[in-house]
Point group: D2
Chain length 337, copies 4
């Protein structure tokens, strides 16, 4: 399987490196508008063909799949052209900036009968997968809510706000873990450093099961936090991606009974267990999954529908944010249904 990569910015070289290391795949060519970037990537990967014209990749019959690692605004056009040329397509997250663009990409993939995968890397993170395993094993009881802190100082973007920058991570993780279509979305925030670009948002997603996912996303924080707590009726989980060793901890504790007013502390606290998490790089898992899905015709874990659902949540969250935090139903917008 021969792959062409469009976009040699910050993330592109990581994609190339992991394609090189994935068995059964080869990165053969890279396109970018910037000759400087092409020179840099060519120095690092001398066997790579480079070009400033992405059409060379799309029209090359020896190329099986295209990775679109360009600014979000260009995803639709590039993906549609690649599908039209009969390629399998990997698109970096978020799939698009609007539901209508995302839907167009999904439809183009369906028409072409080719694989569409979206680069929601975190669902391939071994710790996130371990939490999914814990949830699926049902031991934590009914999942009440989860709360995520994804904050740090300084990676301000200029074209998108913190919701679109950091939000795709938490939304894709929450949708993967909960495995339900949301019921509603709600979002508040503020713009402190740049006008009209939120640098802090609080995002909430409600689910039909009654579960809630809440996230604090911020470009303004004293230190980097990557912590999510999951509250089940019988167990609780902490996933802290900053930890080198104990990334996931399972707390065998919960509220048991609440009968008398006098004895208010009727809770149960038990052992804490931290399963060993493999140290595999998430992007490596992701790239190998793409190669396998193309080769075997499998549906990717983060397929077009999953990527579209993330875009829909973010679009609704923007609507809520602009209206001062009003709750927005998910289904009213589900025009595809």
């Amino acid at each position: 399987m021969r792959v062409g990569v469009i976009g040699a910015g910050y993330w592109g070289p990581n994609i190339v490196r992991n394609l090189y290391e994935a068995p059964g795949a080869d990165a053969v060519a890279v396109a970018d508008l910037s000759q400087d970037r092409l020179d840099a990537i060519a120095k690092r990967f001398p066997a790579l063909r480079v070009t400033t014209d992405y059409r060379e990749l799309i029209s090359d019959p020896s190329i099986d799949a295209i990775c679109v690692v360009t600014p979000v605004g260009t995803h639709r056009k590039l993906a549609e052209e690649a599908f039209a040329a009969g390629k399998h397509v990997f698109v970096e997250k978020p799939l698009a900036h609007t539901v209508s663009d995302a839907e167009a990409i999904v439809r183009a993939g369906e028409r072409a009968g080719k694989t569409l995968m979206v680069g929601h890397t975190f669902v391939y993170n071994p710790a996130v997968a371990a939490v999914k395993g814990i949830l699926d094993a049902k031991g934590i009881g009914k999942l009440h809510y989860l709360d995520s802190q994804r904050v740090n100082l300084g990676l301000h973007q200029f074209d998108i706000n913190v919701l679109w920058d950091l939000g795709p991570h938490d939304v894709s993780i929450a949708l993967y873990w909960l495995d339900q279509e949301p019921a509603w979305v709600q979002c508040t925030g503020a713009c402190f450093v740049q006008p009209n670009i939120e640098d802090v948002v609080f995002l909430m997603i409600g689910f039909p099961s009654g579960a809630i996912a809440h996230a604090h996303l911020s470009w303004l924080a004293p230190s980097k936090l990557r912590t999510t707590i999951l509250i089940g009726s019988r167990k609780m989980v902490v996933y802290d991606d900053n930890q080198a060793v104990e990334k996931v901890k399972v707390y065998d504790q919960g509220v048991e009974k609440l009968e008398s007013d006098e004895l208010r502390r009727s809770y149960r606290a038990g052992d804490i267990h931290s399963p060993r998490i493999p140290m595999t790089e998430a992007l490596q898992v992701e790239m190998r999954h793409f190669v396998e899905c193309v080769r075997d015709g499998k549906k990717p874990l983060s397929d077009g529908e999953a990527g579209l659902m993330v875009v829909r949540v973010l679009e609704l969250a923007m609507r809520s944010l602009r209206s001062g935090g009003a709750r927005v139903a998910y289904r009213l917008d589900a025009v595809r249904a």
Copy 2:
């Protein structure tokens, strides 16, 4: 100064102990409906007069001040009677469950010309006071926002939700630090364990300066958190009440300039400083402050107006919570103006 304490439940004995230790004051009598509780407190403090009839305390001319440490629903009646009898009054937080009750207590104190103080203990916490000093010294620049995590497992209440249980702490701290009347209040939450009693809420308070205070309040969490971050334009502060030593840390860092798209990481990260915080018990500071205010006719830091403002924020937060999280203006409700 001789003090009578009404209420010998969980908190009453702490009040008594700190009154004993405060110079210039003496706890002389305690009233409670439960003879068991009276027996217990009498065993611990043998010199104390105990009674099941609080009126004995209010009508005792040798008693100068009354501490009301009873369930919130009784605060108004007891405070009004105490003021009518010419006593100074200390009322545990929250001052009342409704703005109208809180206003009635404030007015009763004004009519009596006596001291009214509300037990917002956290504003007497040395670490909270240290943060106030940092804010007042202006070194942190413009205060953008603060976010608080006040969560733990198991102290479920049966009559009030987590907003009324834990919220008074964060609201009183935020009002003390920001020293502004709020502009708006917003609150979302969910009831997981008991119907109609929120065990998780997310509270936001907006201020005229543009600052925002956000709090995650929960009775359902794997471990106890008492952490607040404060984001200023030039410095950031972390206040973690769980820490034995480094309760307050000041991060000399901020976003400096955001000019080019390429060089996105234009932030500044400098030294971290953790000032020594005295280990004085907040309740001791509070009780001594009450004694001094009564003796010298000073306005308490947590006076009736401060207590009323907390109740107003919580009442508005309840309104927002019941309406699905809509933003509620603070001033429209300011019927006293």
Copy 3:
């Protein structure tokens, strides 16, 4: 069972309080040379008889047991007199400052046929007991070594060095866990603040099984540490008494095979498990154990022999310390054998 307590200094009141709360026992009298201390304890426990003459307690036929909570130099005399009067005796740790004094106390108890228990509180600490359970269950394999950090700033003593101040804790814990008589003792250290009083020592105890216990004991440290690691061939344990929640952690990891030079990292790292530790106060467990041992004629966990062994290790450690850290055999000194 009626108990008299000799010594009302720092630790005495804790003993009294726990005797009050222990079922089947009562603290009835306290002796101390200082009237101030007696006044203070009488204020707190009004039912207590107080006296400056300890002989009143020893000669009182209604008193069944004596707790000796006085400076170490007085332990032997007081214990011998109490045994001579037919009392059961509890002696605070360390049992004595010399092996000969400790042996004299043990013999006095044997002659009297009464219970002798030494106040090595840490062996009653629920976390220490949990580690003992883990060791006895054999899952950690062969115990290679343990290393303890017991350091903090500022509780300098004036009559004894840090070895005699903090050492009894680690020695008693190590002897309890390993359940062997030591093979040798070795100790180095230095006197930085006061001449001839070591404020930092490094203590090593070798055991016949090949296991080693090492401890860093210091009155000079930036922060308080109470951490012990235990290295087994199949598992490792961390016991951190400073942690509120995860006091004990079991690491399922070890070195598996070391065969090839190229592949040096042939180790195994698995899950981490933190068992729930009850929050019972160690002193409460200890006092109840003393009451039970007296009542039922049971041998205390920290009996005279255990207390003597601790003194012997410390005496040998002093000899090693004074000779610049030479290794000292344990058995050559075992004159009792």
Copy 4:
């Protein structure tokens, strides 16, 4: 300045990469006995000349300097040949396994009049340098002692023990910080996994000033620790290389006076300050320093004498270790004097 690198094992490629990035230098050739390793490094650095015969590098007149990154036993021979050919020489740490070999290398460098630098990378670590600056500024008062924990699971060596594996780090750091020749060395340890290869040692170095450096070095530990505390009479410092942000913390605390027996806790605890540490890679600083020293004829921070002193301490520590931990004087061995 053209550099040849002998040794393409684990560390060699890092040296090559940093030479490439250092201004004024170029890695031009690499020699290794293994063709596989040469192929691997050639793939990564295509411009590099590779050879299985190191003599090609030493005899190449266009090469100015040789980096010796081979097993320790070969250091002397390679360094002597390189000096004889008129090259500047960089030797990986430790300089040699015996004092006599180390001395021979130093003398060879002196005879050649060329630069000799030893790869004690940690003295180029920005955090270690920051601590040096704090010590030199004298604010911490008299340095009493330092204690280091350098432990982790599983990088067992087969030819050397943990003293020679991890010890060069702590010894070189301590000598750099204290800037004195040691007075004595003492070392104890044990072999748990392999016979005759210590996997745990406790190393102590005494200095003429009275200061002591202690280190716990182990290949058997539940988690990786890289923590050193430094105790001064007026301040204390914690250097934790595992921390991403607060690598160095200065505690403004110490023992002030110890006068009365009653008031034992006469210590002072003040603020804690964590200076910003640059995130520069230590190896990069080191390689640039080598290039500068060669170019400008400067004496390297880790010159031959420094490397020799480390070897001497380790050799004496081995002697102490083999004799059961006896204290060994440093000067008696100083045969060069």
